[in-house]
Symmetry: C3
Subunit: 267 residues, 3 copies
């Protein structure tokens, strides 16, 4: 594998300059974390799910982030409305397939969304992506189950099938659009000791996709920033509570030289 | 402008003595922040929205805080029920017009609430208040858009129209009942780097209004406490994560002399 | 009273080894706190409430935690479905009777759940348990009202009536199955200055019950761990914000010798 060059800091500067509105329909567990992670990047998060307003809200956003972590049937209907509005406007829709592989409802609603609207970026952990990619993978609630050997192939196939970018998070993150493939090796084990790092990663990726039309690059850049911030935050943290607080601080204070020094992206 | 005298600390002591129950129907993004900010003041927050119980819950509260940040049609119906019960009992109802100016639904539901029940205090950012005050202001999701030149006039007119107090938050906060006008110049730019400072301000104001029947004074006192706490918290904070933690600590530990030394209220 | 021996650390090791999935249907105020407290113990929290998936999700869990803090009628229907599935699978169901004694809806829904499904552990504060135990106790929103003199008798009677364990939290926690009685004297006053310590205690108890079939012992062990962590966290905390962060750190870092040194359980 060769080291890949992605202008991560350039995108970060664009976010701070344009302050894009990032519309979310997300889960009730980590909704505050998702909003804060977007805010500390310099963008403007808005969470809105009423069917009467989602189209209008998506219309003033620069990206739409969908997360099925605490889905209901009505909520997914609102997601569809918002996503159709986003497709019409030409802004990227990011789908976090949270808990796919845990229940039939989650699998079916992911496929329903993927068939009804255009998703620019699908994001999930190994068993979630494997399941949506067609494998019989099982997810332990929202934590990844066993990782299939052919995960990279499943992810690439999923990207090709829906003409989108697929992000698989884990010890190593895989980003693929079915042609180009990246591996992001940043991050820290402490990320697994709090809830919401996966959801926050999707919100960060959505924020980068709002300013960068090359979605594989935007996904890589978002993951690099978020996971380098996690590395910095973990250094001085006694535990998950301190880590979560410092994660926001580190992301807010991320310097160009820290990124270029720590960035670990392979292609 | 002259410096205004408001007995901020006296109200804070009343809150700690009477521990008023503050009933919320608020948004799902910052609901935990709103509950905690009320708790650290020494009051007792309760969040309840089921139509079958909101009247009874409002009946045991000393103030009702409504926030439309993640509104739905049913949720606003519950707000109306709760507010009618609060009106009947004679406790103040605070309405945070979160996101007014972003979508038609938010505008219409604010007007619907203002026409159906008596709101004691309307709180919003510049473009939210301008929109509810009748201007064509646009809100960027839940962040303020451009601020109209005649904001003070719009706020005063809104207060007169509904016979209430109007609080407009920003770099300088404007508090008006249409006759008396206050400007609160406390606060810190770091407040803009986390979500929920606006929602928390409304909950703090509601808590002060629970013990102080002069609502312009209660609003000023609440803003002063919250924003002085923010000033103290920002001093030692490396970023938004540390700031958010220290904000609760500073509010909890707020001293009489810190308030009198830092209080910046003009009339 | 004699000092009771409960193998608290042995259970904690089982949790870290087996990483049980803990399914929650809980309130929207402290849902993130509940998920994080389960996560830092080493278990795997999942929050899911859609009627179409709750049975399947409960089916892959090792314990089910129900909390009526922001209940609606539909939400309680989903709780029933999930609990029936949990009963069928033979995993423990924990019910936090949050706000019982505040409104009729909360009382009725608690009784409805207790009659429709088997609850392994009922948890509440003094006035909540007193009310469900049949007294005319009133709860101040979600904070305990006056504590009846015969609280221990009411709790024991409640345990006998439903053949379950009853946990009453407060300055001293009472754990009873109607025959065996324990008093846990750990904890710290700072716990009362943030929201969610009660909800988190229920989630911790649920996590211990997932690995320990003796539910009174599991409840005692969970309370001991959570409250010793609170004692450690409070030592260096300037206020509630710092305390909440350190509470997760202390729980994550809890050592065997800290538990044996601080554990205060009487029988």
């Amino acid at each position: 594998m060769a080291t890949a060059k992605v202008d991560v800091y350039g995108m970060l500067e664009k976010i701070k300059k344009h302050k894009p509105v990032i519309h979310h329909l997300t889960n009730w567990v980590t909704i505050n974390d998702c909003a804060n992670v977007v805010k500390v990047l310099g963008a403007s998060p808005v969470m809105a799910h009423a069917p009467e307003e989602v189209e209008e809200m998506a219309g003033l956003a620069s990206a739409l982030v969908l997360n099925i972590g605490t889905l209901t049937v009505d909520f997914v209907d609102s997601m569809k409305k918002a996503a159709l509005s986003a497709n019409k406007k030409g802004i990227p829709v990011i789908l976090d397939v949270c808990g796919a592989g845990a229940t039939d409802l989650r699998d079916h609603k992911c496929f329903e969304l993927l068939d009804a609207v255009h998703i620019a970026i699908i994001k999930g952990n190994a068993s979630e992506i494997a399941r949506i990619g067609g494998a019989a993978a099982k997810t332990k609630g929202v934590d990844s189950g066993s990782v299939p050997a052919d995960l990279r192939k499943l992810a690439a196939g999923l990207a090709q099938k829906y003409g989108c970018t697929v992000v698989t998070t884990g010890k190593e993150d895989i980003v693929t659009d079915g042609k180009r493939n990246y591996t992001v090796k940043n991050g820290h084990p402490m990320m697994a000791n709090i809830v919401g790092t996966g959801c926050m990663a999707a919100s960060v990726i959505g924020t980068f996709a709002a300013v960068e039309p090359d979605y594989p690059n935007a996904s890589v850049a978002g993951l690099v920033c978020f996971e380098i911030a996690a590395e910095c935050a973990a250094q001085k943290s006694k535990g998950p509570g301190a880590f979560k607080e410092r994660l926001l601080d580190a992301l807010y204070n991320l310097k160009k030289k820290t990124i270029s020094k720590r960035q670990k992206v392979e292609t």
